[in-house]
Symmetry: C2
Subunit: 155 residues, 2 copies
């Protein structure tokens, strides 16, 4: 294995779009690993770029680093992940996005009949009190971005 196959932290930063400090942080958090040069500098394998693409995609879908870390932990240890591996990890994303879209759509559709009319009641307003967005304590609620989890009390 030639040393020239390995990437420095600045190369990875440039090619991935992540800041070098973020790469170090991700390594610290267990999302990445790197070999080391004789002097202790990081040397990345090329497939770290795909891993980083996955991380960015997952972040864009709204996953936390903890969730991403857990997902990455299910990848095989001993071989380079295949397309099937990555596909498996992103299986739930469509549902997640669908739920986020549905929640926002509901919010928007409540707008015309609520803010538009100036009612703005804490008890009745669909925007300030979108309780049904999160649909109780079901699985759906956990997937919603924090943005959509707020709700007024029912007192």
């Amino acid at each position: 294995m030639k040393t020239t196959d390995l990437l420095t932290v600045s190369e990875v930063a440039r090619r991935s779009g992540f800041a070098a400090s973020a790469l170090r942080y991700y390594e610290h958090e267990g999302l990445l690993t790197a070999q080391r040069s004789g002097g202790g500098q990081r040397r990345y394998e090329r497939n770290v770029l795909r891993r980083l693409a996955f991380i960015r995609a997952a972040r864009n879908v709204g996953l936390s680093l903890d969730e991403i870390s857990a997902a990455l932990a299910t990848l095989p240890d001993r071989r380079t992940p295949t397309r099937a591996d990555w596909t498996r990890l992103s299986n739930g994303w469509r549902t997640r996005l669908d739920e986020q879209i549905a929640a926002l759509t509901k919010l928007r559709d409540g707008l015309d009949s609520c803010i538009g009319c100036g009612c703005l009641s804490l008890k009745r307003c669909a925007i300030s009190n979108p309780a049904d967005l999160a649909a109780g304590a079901g699985v759906g609620a956990a997937y919603l971005p924090r943005l959509l989890r707020r709700s007024a009390a029912h007192a």
Copy 2:
């Protein structure tokens, strides 16, 4: 004006769904005001409840407290805000939600052709690199939730 017309902090907390600590924080940040009792305790006018409904609604649409604060600052000083006042403040919300929905939809639709196929390329992947979601430096980008503002470098 009878004293019984005024609400204590715990009453406002119960009726608005905000924690008392949040109410104090909002006051500190200039989003709320309250009269004081002889002993220095907060006494809220009833219309603070509508103000809080607005704040919660705005938060649900994705506005920061700073933005909400700026919006509230445009309300008339000397009279109770009317329906028209509140409607004016929420005028941009529909557009904002539309943009968020469009962004998420684009992300979801990229999923099938990108993660689904396992490509996950930093340069080509629509999920890890949704540059067109934010549409450059236009007004739209500013309205997108932080969630959607990430994008890979184009190097």
